[in-house]
């Protein structure tokens, strides 16, 4: 066997002194062959991006210093190249795609021009560039490439932009492609398309691909080989078929175990009378508007009806923009509504105000998506948790003891009360958020993407906590998520939303096991790593 295309040996990159560990990556050794896809997985902060940036020579050198090791690409010592030498490699021989399609393109330059720039930088004659750019746009499956080339990025959707990025990376037919979480910001359906595109192009051109992700599902669908990183160290490398099926390292094992799968057992369901009843809900957003402009109307939620009983969890799933959060906010009275009814325990809450609204506030609570944004950074944790009870007239002593109990209940030390949110990890903050919601002793809990921002292992713990709490406090729960597997783990019933309308609804295993609507079927098909979950080894790439 010839030399590998890329060979990283004992690479060590130091963190600036203030960091929580000495090295961002230490002693990382990896190889990538031609025509091979190597996936690097690992939790947030484990050093995946740093490794990729080092190969590309894009490390912010004023903050991060390479302190050891070598990177050899096709026989060239990349670390020894000067800026000009490296520049010739970038774009021409190694292409790169980034995670954020929304910000990775220059907002004030036309698409076509941005693609042509790569060729210009590497000396392709002017006459050829335009045709080539169109050809590339076509190759990545964009409709009307001529028109797209003339557009500015803001007119393209996230998936389309990611395709443009891929076209750009492939413009000069590089030998190697680095993709740093290229699908994380995308919808499952779009993700599936992009994954397929990368895979097809890689096959077609025989490129080596260094693919970074934190999603084992994605790994299962795309990887030839897998490298698992933890805290800057590669803990395990091997063929995907081995690592995924019989992980050798306990860390890998824990990661894989935490990956949620689809539940197979149907839930018992609740027999109680519903506490929350939503019928014919409609919500219209109006934007723009002015002297000369008629406001634009956007129907975010249309004719949605459902009900939840105590002890029951209703899932709300659908792709981004389908109106999930909007429904949650309508239910919580953060938003007004434009039609329909929302009733809680038989009383209308849409028009509730004053005391009635306040009473409702004590009964319905919410857990938010972003653990970093959901706590007031200026308030100590204890104060945040006590705010609810205090607002409802509970005396300070009671509120305090309730707060301390809850902290314990969500698995935190009582001393946490005197600390500020930034002193906690994401998972811990989410627990605090749950404690805060529970402090007013609600009957209904709305959880909007409550675990989406968390790493899989933490996600699993928080899901467990939510489940326990629901049962313990006998809560009705509205669980909003875009992740079908998570929904299937915790929900009893689920509603599938598409463009603000309900397309399918029912008991979880029914809906996910035997989808009736074509949209639901597409959604399910796009979930990565299904075959792996079902144990279909043969489907893994050899």
């Amino acid at each position: 066997m010839s030399d590998p295309l890329l060979k990283i040996e004992k690479l060590t990159v130091a963190l600036p002194s203030a960091g929580d560990r000495v090295n961002a990556v230490s002693d990382v050794s990896l190889t990538l062959d031609k025509g091979e896809i190597l996936c690097i997985v690992g939790e947030s902060g484990s050093g995946k991006s740093i490794t990729a940036s080092t190969v590309m020579g894009l490390l912010p050198s004023d903050q991060l210093k390479i302190t050891g090791g070598s990177v050899t690409f096709d026989g060239i010592d990349l670390l020894a190249l000067d800026e000009n030498g490296m520049r010739k490699v970038r774009g021409a021989r190694i292409g790169m795609i980034f995670q954020e399609p929304m910000t990775s393109l220059n907002p004030v330059m036309k698409i076509g021009r941005q693609i042509e720039e790569v060729m210009e930088a590497h000396g392709i004659a002017r006459e050829k560039r335009q045709a080539r750019a169109i050809e590339l746009l076509q190759a990545v499956g964009l409709p009307e490439p001529e028109a797209i080339a003339e557009r500015y990025p803001f007119r393209l959707s996230g998936g389309q932009r990611q395709r443009v990025m891929i076209a750009m990376a492939l413009a000069l037919e590089p030998d190697m492609l680095i993709a740093d979480e290229p699908t994380t910001a995308l919808d499952v359906t779009t993700q599936a398309q992009i994954l397929k595109l990368i895979r097809d192009l890689q096959r077609e051109r025989g490129m080596g691909v260094l693919f970074i992700t934190h999603d084992f599902g994605v790994v299962a669908d795309i990887a030839d080989r897998v490298a698992v990183m933890q805290k800057g160290v590669v803990v395990e490398v091997g063929p995907a078929s081995e690592v995924l099926v019989s992980p050798g390292h306990p860390y890998t094992k824990s990661l894989i175990d935490a990956v949620p799968g689809f539940r197979e057992q149907a839930s018992a369901g609740s027999t109680e009378a519903p506490v929350l009843k939503v019928s014919g809900l409609r919500k219209v957003y109006r934007t723009g508007g002015g002297l000369f402009a008629v406001p634009k109307e956007f129907v975010a939620v249309n004719d949605v009806s459902f009900s939840i009983a105590r002890g029951e969890t209703l899932g709300l799933v659908g792709e981004s923009g389908s109106g999930k959060s909007t429904i949650g906010q309508c239910v919580m009275r953060i938003n007004g509504i434009d039609g329909g009814k929302v009733e809680f325990n038989g009383s209308d809450i849409v028009n509730a105000s004053g005391a009635a609204l306040k009473a409702y506030r004590a009964q319905a609570q919410m857990v938010f998506q972003d653990p970093f944004a959901s706590l007031n950074p200026r308030h100590k944790v204890g104060r945040s948790i006590m705010a609810g009870p205090l607002a409802h007239g509970v005396d300070t002593a009671t509120a305090r003891s309730r707060m301390e109990q809850l902290l314990k209940r969500v698995g935190l030390d009582a001393s946490a009360a005197d600390r500020y949110p930034h002193e906690f990890s994401g998972g811990q903050r989410q627990r605090i958020g749950i404690a805060r919601a529970l402090a007013v002793e609600p009957d209904l809990l709305v959880a909007d993407e409550a675990v989406s921002a968390l790493d899989v292992s933490v996600q699993a713990q928080v899901l467990d906590l939510l489940r326990e709490i629901r049962d313990e406090f006998h809560l009705a729960m509205l669980f909003i998520t875009h992740d079908l597997r998570v929904a299937s783990q915790i929900c009893d019933r689920v509603i599938v939303l598409h463009r603000g309308r309900i397309v399918e609804e029912g008991e979880v295993t029914n809906v996910f096991g035997d989808p009736q609507d074509s949209y639901t079927r597409n959604l399910l098909a796009a979930v990565p790593g299904q075959k792996w979950h079902r144990g279909e080894q043969q489907a893994l790439p050899a």
Partner: protein, 280 residues
């Protein structure tokens, strides 16, 4: 906060700025002690050049008044006007901005139209006009500068409020049943304070510049010695007595520079991300 304070105090900009400011504040406070004579009193012969008489380092002006004493007393006015007008501007700006950003919609529209309106008026011209109408005094200068300088605060606070308004912790407070007042003052406002404080220190600087310019044009308080007045009075004798306008100008420069340094350091420390955005 302690960590920020430490970072602030180890910031070289902050150190330089604070040292200069400290000197000026001390000069202002102890002016009556160091220079017991009224700064308007004739102290020596007129047009005494600097560095010639040990008692009058910086020389005297056309009425024989001690320039150094004038500078010390002038510090009082500059600081009072700078700080007080900033307080006025911040209070008005925060109120407007908070209301607009929090309530959004019609309130926002109405308040922002008013803000835009005040931003469209050429501010310095407007300030001059106000001082002239209210008749020149420290009070009217403070009011005038305050009135023309609140819009940027309002805009800043509004945008902070608007973005914090949709932040999850604010929604959480709504859902928890806190009143609007509680949410505005205890949840959101403290979170907008860092950029406001940083902006305020920069505003003190520009208020001092504006006060100097107003006094320079002869619209200052005639009973208060101020730096702008000194440069303005010296303008006509610039050929005979360069020092009369040179020193007050240098002092203004240093103080404004110091405030800018402190403001920037605060910015660096309090909002590292915003820091680079610069002003306005």
């Amino acid at each position: 906060m302690n960590a920020s304070l430490r970072r602030f105090l180890t910031n070289p900009k902050a150190v330089v700025g604070l040292v200069i400011l400290m000197l000026v504040v001390l000069a202002a406070i102890f002016a009556p002690v160091i220079f017991p004579r009224n700064p308007w009193q004739m102290a020596s012969r007129p047009f005494l050049p600097p560095f010639q008489d040990a008692k009058f380092w910086l020389g005297t002006d056309m009425l024989g008044r001690d320039i150094l004493a004038g500078l010390a007393y002038g510090a009082q006015i500059s600081l009072i006007v700078g700080v007080a007008s900033t307080v006025v501007a911040v209070v008005v700006g925060v109120l407007f901005g908070a209301m607009a950003g929090y309530y959004g919609g019609f309130v926002d529209d109405a308040l922002m139209r008013v803000t835009e309106f005040f931003q469209t008026i050429p501010t310095f011209v407007f300030a001059l006009l106000l001082v002239a109408i209210l008749s020149p005094s420290v009070m009217s200068i403070i009011i005038a500068i305050g009135v023309v300088s609140w819009p940027p605060v309002a805009r800043l606070v509004r945008s902070e409020f608007a973005s914090l308004r949709s932040r999850d912790f604010v929604k959480a407070a709504v859902v928890l049943g806190q009143s609007n007042r509680q949410i505005i003052f205890s949840q959101i406002l403290p979170n907008t304070m860092s950029p406001v404080i940083a902006m305020a220190s920069l505003m003190v600087a520009s208020a001092i510049l504006t006060e100097a310019a107003i006094s320079f044009l002869g619209l200052g308080d005639p009973n208060m010695m101020s730096w702008g007045y000194m440069v303005g009075a010296a303008r006509t004798v610039i050929r005979q007595a360069w020092w009369m306008s040179f020193f007050p100008g240098i002092v203004i420069l240093l103080v404004v520079l110091a405030l800018n340094l402190v403001g920037e350091a605060l910015n660096d420390v309090l909002n590292p991300r915003l820091a680079r955005k610069g002003r306005q």
